[in-house]
Symmetry: C2
Subunit: 372 residues, 2 copies
């Protein structure tokens, strides 16, 4: 057992230790508050690691967006649409999104009258969409390929129709929307192969400079991937492309975290880690492969034709859209970027929004200026 | 006095009224919760008026921005720079921003060696900035006018130098930065008049299609205003312009509210109400005047030359930058928009950021492509 004097010594040591800790702690606080000039930390504040510490707050809807967009935002994000969960079976998920998309496609066809024909191009299923009042004389040699969205899981048919009907009608041009192979039945590069097959078939009677390719969300990713794939196949580049609500690289930046907060939703699986785990289509790929993410190769990017990039500012993908624009610009590619304040992922699938009408006009004008 | 039976009747009526109110209230809640499909309200959520209800959260700095930008963001927003308050006297405010800007201008001149000469053009003070190794042969007939930022209050001299030195050096081109008249001593349209005076002087020996104008923040607003003013004066439009971190219309959209939260700052005075009250320079104007806010007139906007628009995604002005791009595009103007994820208002005044170097290159290439 310790003696009474050694107990007293330990007590003194303990007191000194506490005193020293208090001094060090006080000095550290003083340094933080004055010496290093750190700000007093009441939210909102930025900490020394550059993190933003936000307080709870209510953010009104953007006053730059249309009244119609405001109503649609509330309808989309304030009400429960009972979307099936990510682990529901694929037939259930496809049926849900097809109901959702079919209603939008029917509405689009009311405003924008078109003919829709199912065809095969080199064995790949497509729908050929042409304006009811005929293709304009100036657009006869031209064709646009649409690659629909839907996480490489759904969107075939009705999803492609929403994205194609307004463009075909406003542009008085032929749009071919491809029913490319998707997950979970198929994996990368099945979709890229299907795009190449249709493109080859079109090259038989089209100048490549008169062919445009565009897509939204998964279809935007596939547009970028298709350009890398066509390069690998030594096929000529198309005249112009559109990458909408999507990226030629990884998802990331501020928007993968902020956009879900603004919509009361969970982040897209994998997006905050820059992973492609939102879809089984990419389960076997290397994310370093430029055929998967063309931004891995400046050389591949440098061969992109003029590229239209667009999104809403509340799209989880908007940071990636902006990054793709900068990287393409650095690679010497002619780009055109437009962002609609307050609008969301794939907003232009709603054909009644004034912003959607602006988007259709911008897409049509872009291809008109950039295709031969 | 009422009889006992009439009192009893009123009591029964009162009870029935309360019961009916309870039933109506229950029905309304049920409709809200089930019929209309309103979501359960735990933050983050969107309410039926489209407002986003955010929880308190910590947002890491954008992983798309450079490490240098991350360090600079913390340096700018996590530490206290003891900026004088908005009601400090103008000499104190100018001295503070001049110290801040002079350090950046000195650093810019180390990386980008230039000559700086003070001159008068039609009686207006300017600095003429030329690359030390001479103007490139291809740039001899061309000139860029810079309109510095600084809330129409400060920025003369050092502020203009920061914005001009890298562009003059990278582009091997002459940049003339104008010491236009500002508040509180002067009011609108003093600055527009000064820009017109310098422009007229340059027109004596320059083709207007070989003149570019660009500016950041207040200088971006003034660039847009100058185009409206030159139209009023029946002067030819310049070949191309750049509106950076600024708008041809009112400030607004999501960014006037979100950007200050992300930087731990208060919003710019007036910006959340779309007012110009951040500066006394505009205290006497009508915000409906297209000479003040050219976006008031589609006709004025339609005469804009090709316009480069750019900002960081955390700039309070980024929503306005994007809106200006859309409105110019709708008016048929050729625009080019670039957004750097995670970057802040006037970020390119820091010449050491990789993003600033990208911006200098984009500005130089834009004017090279669009000037005669």
């Amino acid at each position: 057992m310790p003696s009474s004097s050694s107990r007293r010594l330990r007590a003194i040591q303990g007191t000194l230790l506490l005193l020293m800790m208090a001094i060090v702690s006080f000095a550290a606080h003083r340094a933080a508050a004055e010496g290093a000039g750190l700000k007093a930390q009441e939210p909102p504040f930025v900490s020394s690691d550059a993190s933003a510490h936000l307080r709870a707050l209510t953010l009104p809807y953007s006053n730059f967006a249309s009244p119609e967009a405001k109503v649609a935002y509330a309808q989309l994000f304030a009400t429960d649409h009972h979307a099936p969960p990510a682990d529901a079976d694929i037939a259930t998920r496809r049926a849900y999104y097809d109901r959702f998309n079919s209603a939008l496609a029917r509405r689009a066809a009311e405003i924008y009258p078109v003919r829709v024909e199912s065809k095969l191009f080199g064995g790949v299923k497509v729908e050929v969409i042409t304006p009811k009042d005929g293709v304009a004389a100036s657009e006869r040699g031209r064709v646009l390929i649409n690659l629909h969205g839907g996480a490489f899981l759904w969107g075939e048919g009705s999803g492609g129709e929403i994205e194609s009907i307004p463009i075909a009608s406003v542009g008085r041009i032929t749009v071919i929307t491809i029913a490319y192979r998707q997950g979970p039945e198929y994996k990368f590069p099945a979709a890229s192969e299907d795009v190449a097959t249709v493109y080859r078939a079109l090259l038989k009677d089209h100048d490549p400079k008169k062919i445009g390719i565009y897509g939204c969300s998964a279809g935007g990713i596939l547009t970028a991937e298709a350009l890398a794939w066509l390069q690998k196949e030594h096929l000529p580049m198309p005249g112009a492309v559109g990458i909408f609500c999507a990226s030629a690289g990884k998802f990331g930046g501020d928007s993968v975290l902020l956009a879900p907060e603004l919509a009361g939703q969970a982040p897209l699986p994998g997006s905050t880690q820059g992973k492609l785990s939102f879809t089984p289509y990419f389960s076997d790929v290397s994310p370093a492969d430029p055929l998967v993410l063309p931004m891995n190769s400046k050389q591949v990017m440098a061969h992109f034709p003029p590229t239209l990039l667009l999104a809403g500012s509340r799209d989880f993908a908007v940071s990636s859209v902006c990054q793709t624009d900068i990287e393409l610009t650095k690679a010497g590619v002619k780009t055109e970027l437009h962002i609609w304040d307050g609008l969301w992922h794939s907003f232009f699938n709603n054909p009644d929004l004034p912003e959607s009408k602006e988007m259709y006009s911008i897409v049509v004008n872009f291809f008109d200026r950039n295709l031969d």
